[in-house]
């Protein structure tokens, strides 16, 4: 059985980027330039997240929990703590994906890290709030409605990616420099909702947070 897929590695990184990109405030909701300017103010960020996946065949959604850390310009940690223990760390542009087998962290060697590096190049644009320069997604800023706060929809440009993810919605948080949630939509089968909690930013984060556990 082939157990891993570079697409999933790709998407986890997308989630990371999206988390860090926009810095919300009523002043910048109006256009991409304001988003870009606000995003540049975010130097570090840590948060916990709850990921809820709905599926038609499940009465109860599948809930995953984890933590996120980011340090400008491109150090990342995206860690699932339950039910799976899986970790992506990016330090100075070098990405490592690991999973926990028993009590031991082992390399997820099928994660196609070269592909991830390509994506990380794309991500840096987003970290700058520069959605418009993306070659993978077409951004569309959606003003708030009575049902939905202001958010950016990221629409895959490549139709083959669109078959996997129809769009990603980045919903801005109330606190400046944060994102409240990310919704990943699939054609015809539910949505993955990632909600961020306990967001802190602007504090020092040690190097070890962005390195593989020893």
């Amino acid at each position: 059985m082939a157990a891993w897929c570079n697409v999933s590695a790709f998407l986890i990184v997308l989630s990371l980027i999206a988390t860090d990109s926009p810095t919300p405030s009523a002043a910048w909701y109006k256009d991409m330039a304001s988003i870009r300017k606000a995003a540049a103010e975010v130097k570090t960020l840590e948060a916990s997240f709850v990921q809820t996946r709905t599926l038609k065949i499940l009465k109860r959604p599948l809930v995953s929990r984890g933590i996120l850390a980011y340090r400008r310009p491109n150090d990342l940690r995206w860690e699932y703590q339950s039910p799976l223990a899986a970790l992506l760390v990016v330090r100075k542009g070098n990405a490592q994906r690991l999973l926990k087998r028993g009590t031991e962290w082992v390399s997820d060697s099928s994660a196609k890290l070269e592909a991830m590096k390509i994506v990380l190049g794309e991500i840096n644009l987003w970290l700058d709030g520069n959605f418009g320069a993306s070659k993978t997604f077409r951004p569309e800023l959606r003003p708030a409605t009575k049902d939905r706060p202001t958010h950016v929809d990221l629409i895959p440009i490549d139709p083959s990616l669109g078959k996997i993810v129809s769009r990603i919605a980045i919903v801005f948080g109330e606190q400046p420099g944060t994102v409240g949630a990310i919704d990943i939509y699939e054609q015809g089968e539910g949505v993955t909702h990632i909600a961020f909690e306990n967001v802190r930013h602007g504090h020092a984060i040690p190097d070890e947070r962005f390195e593989a556990p020893r």
């Binding site: 059985m1 157990a3 989630s15 990921q51 065949i57 599948l62 799976l84 999973l99 087998r101 997820d108």
Partner: protein, 220 residues
Amino acid sequence: MKPSIVGAGAGAVLLLVLTASCAHLPALAPIPGTTRAAVASQCKRAFPTQPWRATHTIVATLPFGANGALLGVTAVSPEGLRAILLSPEGIRLFEGLQKHAGSGGLTILRAVSPFDRSDFAPSLMADVGHAFLQPAGEPSEIGKDVAGATVCRWTLPSHEATEVVLGASGPSQIRTFRNLRLTRQIELLDSPKDGFFPHVRLTVPGAGGYTLDMQLVDHE
């Protein structure tokens, strides 16, 4: 007429095929003082009562030191066996439906590369089916195997067999065979809850073999 080398080789192959097709797993020794029905009932506890839905984490140990982590959602209903693989981020990478025997075959509803390989879907559905679905009917043999363990054996078409091995406190292992060759070993670990074992470890032996460690997350 002098037989050719090729003819002799073909004969040897034919003999091997016939031998394999006629061969059987070693007979199980009778177990004195137990009823067949009682042992069969215990063996059937290896499998959850249908219908059911379950979610597992899956940690795969693959050939050449590769590892991977996934979420698996499986369901058995009157329509058949449905299996979904999700990435940790919740992206649906594979979905297949194996209809019950006599009502159709395998339908692949979604397969993202590399899960779109032609041999992947049948292999996955076979893994899930052997781990969680009781073979049809009653065991064809019940007894002690050569190691002294109590075993229920279902002999299936296509020279396949499934065995459930009983430990001190119930089912401990499922083994599948094809033409006498062990094709899967499924360890049932920890105490079952509502018919589900918290940890199931499936091992496919051989050069291209792999191990799937499946931890139960939820079941309905």
